[in-house]
Symmetry: D2
Subunit: 368 residues, 4 copies
Amino acid sequence: MSTWGNDLKISIFGESHGPGIGVVIDGLPAGLPIDREELAAFMARRAPGRDKASTPRRETDRPELLSGVRGDVTTGTPLAALIRNNDTHSSDYGELASAARPGHADYTGFLRYAGWGDVRGGGHFSGRLTAPLVFAGGLAKQLLAREGVYVGAHIARCAGVADAPFDPVRLDRETLLRPGASAFPTLDAAAGERMREEIEAARMSTDSVGGVVECGVVGFPAGVGSPMFDGLENRIASIVFGIPAVKGLEFGDGFAAAELRGSEHNDPFRLADGKVVTETNHAGGILGGISSGMPILLRAAFKPTASIAKPQRTVDFRENAERELVVKGRHDPCVVVRAVPVVEAAVSLALADALLGAKGYEGLQNRK
Amino acid sequence: MSTWGNDLKISIFGESHGPGIGVVIDGLPAGLPIDREELAAFMARRAPGRDKASTPRRETDRPELLSGVRGDVTTGTPLAALIRNNDTHSSDYGELASAARPGHADYTGFLRYAGWGDVRGGGHFSGRLTAPLVFAGGLAKQLLAREGVYVGAHIARCAGVADAPFDPVRLDRETLLRPGASAFPTLDAAAGERMREEIEAARMSTDSVGGVVECGVVGFPAGVGSPMFDGLENRIASIVFGIPAVKGLEFGDGFAAAELRGSEHNDPFRLADGKVVTETNHAGGILGGISSGMPILLRAAFKPTASIAKPQRTVDFRENAERELVVKGRHDPCVVVRAVPVVEAAVSLALADALLGAKGYEGLQNRK
Amino acid sequence: MSTWGNDLKISIFGESHGPGIGVVIDGLPAGLPIDREELAAFMARRAPGRDKASTPRRETDRPELLSGVRGDVTTGTPLAALIRNNDTHSSDYGELASAARPGHADYTGFLRYAGWGDVRGGGHFSGRLTAPLVFAGGLAKQLLAREGVYVGAHIARCAGVADAPFDPVRLDRETLLRPGASAFPTLDAAAGERMREEIEAARMSTDSVGGVVECGVVGFPAGVGSPMFDGLENRIASIVFGIPAVKGLEFGDGFAAAELRGSEHNDPFRLADGKVVTETNHAGGILGGISSGMPILLRAAFKPTASIAKPQRTVDFRENAERELVVKGRHDPCVVVRAVPVVEAAVSLALADALLGAKGYEGLQNRK
Amino acid sequence: MSTWGNDLKISIFGESHGPGIGVVIDGLPAGLPIDREELAAFMARRAPGRDKASTPRRETDRPELLSGVRGDVTTGTPLAALIRNNDTHSSDYGELASAARPGHADYTGFLRYAGWGDVRGGGHFSGRLTAPLVFAGGLAKQLLAREGVYVGAHIARCAGVADAPFDPVRLDRETLLRPGASAFPTLDAAAGERMREEIEAARMSTDSVGGVVECGVVGFPAGVGSPMFDGLENRIASIVFGIPAVKGLEFGDGFAAAELRGSEHNDPFRLADGKVVTETNHAGGILGGISSGMPILLRAAFKPTASIAKPQRTVDFRENAERELVVKGRHDPCVVVRAVPVVEAAVSLALADALLGAKGYEGLQNRK
């Protein structure tokens, strides 16, 4: 289902080419001031048409707030937002109705929904559905910021080019938020430039590339989360794998940890100004599902955009016949650029949910 | 929390050195015959003391079935199982009470539970809690097998040694189940032998190693799962990250997909005996959160065992003082060997849960 | 929260005087044909301004379908509906901002939302929020009808006047649906006439009345539901108590059962045309939380409308001062008339949810 | 399912004549001291064989704590309790295997579980399963008491005899807890005596009686709960309808409210010592799903015990033949006496769950 959350629930709806898309957010504490400008800026980072590395589809994607807000402050009751679809070229998708685009959910969606799904533009499976996710995550981000928690991300790898990594121990708010402020979210501008060249090269050869987004969190209080199935890792994973094209997720050293010895991987505890910290942070700020107070660090792997203009072999699943397919329409040669705020949004929602469990709604709402 | 599941729920309880550990499983369809011998054999694969690569702690780990079964058939009402703890050396853990073992949840658990947690042997955070998970997953495995679905896993990497991978397209039941049948679960016996040597070398140097478990599934029907937050990947992730020491998870090509171009990664559809299949399986059998009918493939990264006998620097969090710590007790130099059935169990539970959502309890129960 | 459901989830949003209200419905099976005319007719039964027994506020309440439907058939992905608020007199509510209307949630909502709630017209607590509930329930009703399950209700009591009850054994579809087809939903037209007179009398004396809605279900398959906390009674109760003004709920004989002896209350089983039935139906079609195949019967008690034009003593909770209050605005002297379809909607959602659990989505969707 | 709760989850297992019954409680805050004597006394109130008004089956019902407690303090991780079944006469139930006991879930359970359910003594549907519910509720009660919240109940009606009601405005802790302290839980001892006589008369005529339990709560903070589906009423209803034999539930005036006019039912607000209170309390302390700070009051209707020794007509559902049945075994002629602590337990769990949502686990746990 498209519903997620324990104490902070979201329910996302919409299809790429239907009347609109949106989200209902239930459980936001009351009295949270919303900085609409900041929210719009955050959503703009995901919006298409911002950079030539992205799809030329242009949409305002300005969400209409239908409930849950008075003035610029949350009421505490469900907050609903609607984004109208107004720039759709459905005819581009005519032939997709029964020819499965490789790498897409056309065929699996056909089976899952017994042939009734809206397949235009990917329907409910479209990357466009990340717009309401980013909206919801933008609110969670502002909620976290009021608690001194900051969430940022950057492109760690793209098309074989690596950015500089976040420093797992010394990561600060300024460094964390810097990539998001630039048009191409990397720490190292030169690496970003090379990525853009590679993306452009992929586009020129009617192909696409994937990449890895690294997300960091500073200021998250230690001691939040739970063991087993309700740990921060489970909670983050349950939402991050809801982002289209994500095929992998790792925390701290992740897969690299599997290559280390315990003596290399264990983070020694020490005191810094009377506070317990760790000298290294291979664990990515989470031990036993619970935050340690160190920066939280994770990486999500994105497969290359499935929609490519190259001719591909496929099957028409209604006619049960093999055929060749050329995917038309406008598509990003690389979704990773726009995926950066989506990962930030997903992680922010997961952490806000966990914080609500720890502090309750009373602990997070602002008294009038 | 230690509760998981939608249509098939599990609630795990217990501490490493308390009276016992166990699980309540709610939502199992009625009329499922339980092969107790097979279940015991599956649990034995996780049990300690089986191989010198594992901790010398020996336990029978024979679960007592408290409810939900008559004869050897499920009743459909909650099935509870209890495993008594009977071989505990609590005194080994005396000094841990306030010295945080690096890489463990001692300190985060101390904060989370305000100092009241049972820290002996890791308490509720202990790897021992995977025994009831394997028990529950063993039942899910048998449920799936009745539907023609088979789940198997092997050590894909350990201590820098790689096993042969599962063939993502041609994987069959026989190959899938072979590693689980051997004492050291690899496809390539020679690779297994080298891993054992490396593990032994780590033990000799009072150190530990990590590794990667690859899990495969054949026979899972196409069209099961849901988009966004209830996809097979989310559901599997939400339980796999509940296994202690897991720091990464990837499906299909996973992180390697991020390095490919779309034309390389997209799996072309074709017909085989009139059935829609894909020529390659970079997607790992899941598109848009929904099964494609191809083998499901995933890999989980395990960090090296945190408990090592080497002296380590740490902090006594009650006394707020730095100190040196030598972890006593009996510990696996490598948890990955015993983690193989745990991953199978977690994946089996996730898939059984998804199948129950698709077919309902009526569709999965056996009429008497 | 305003989110409900296991296999069929609804998330309701909106405030009485905000931009709009609506619902996201997640889990509807694909391929359900929607009879929009029937849905509109069902919603019209709840709409204000239909009868002089109701509030003069007139709204079209025509929901816009934002997603989840193509043509007139569900896609299986989340279905969202938006109802714009277009006839609001917010100024009527000016003085309510801090004077607690007796019988309303003004004061408790003020505390719950730390003063940030939208209090105009009751905000999210308004009876107007039952419009999206009725919309969602109307879809569930159509889903159930395709399975041969029919849900109907009538005013069992109002202002001291009793309608004829549903026959718990012989209730048929025709009788069940008759009250809903009339402007004033009773079985006995004369009783209905007397109720209208009493309601009118209450209005004339600037007062209000309450009542009881009886709901019946025929055709629901036997054997659906679960023991303990997931029984049909729990599931129905969890949503019916979400209808504003409901203060009581009973199944079968309900409170009257408490006065009977076992020999009077037990329903003897017998065979009718080879089928197991009960001779009487004191149980209201539910035994141990599970349907027996007999008609399901329940009654919900509604308190009298809290908004009355009579001067009332109250407290200004911001100024912490006692005062007198005259509630302005347009209010039903009796909500029970319009509550009849709301109860039908809530019960339909609960039963559709239970049926999805039993049959799975595959068992309820229509193959294209 | 037999799993319940949001922030405080319980998972109940067991069958009347299986090895044992029990519960896993997940989400209890850490550092809650458990008064075992008080807990035992509370459980003793539900235990059979205490009064001749109850079944002669005698069990110690002493729960073994398997996890979640060290010494007498909760650890915050799942707390599991096991109660062994040790006094069972399964042979008494031999003939029930296929003859549906009227008023019982034998037949519906047979359908639900496809014939595989454990029917001995009602299996999982047995009233015996309320023992773990009372255990869990006893812990919730102690948690609430630490917050100044007290929950008590009494038999409001039984066999046509009425007890004095709780005073909805002036109810205090002392009055509230008095009935529970006596062997026969009424406020008015004379009424209790008459109830006992009626119960005894019912037993003598091999029959049974039902009744109504009234439950009150004092000290619950105002402003806790949520609108729509997560209100205190929904939450309480979702668990109270899990108590076997409950067929009705009402809050405040409940069904009687349906007979009142708004001017009679509305509770005027006023100030008492600077605090907002209501003059009357027809609402039962809940407005819009949220606590008002006044005593919370509710009543649950219990049908008469279904197991009666009188011959009854029924159907053998395996042989599909009508027959006469004489229910053997030991049965309460009135479950209401023992149901009093069960209602207290259910209400305590619901309120503790709501309080955890408001205050978070940090707000409710005791710092060591």
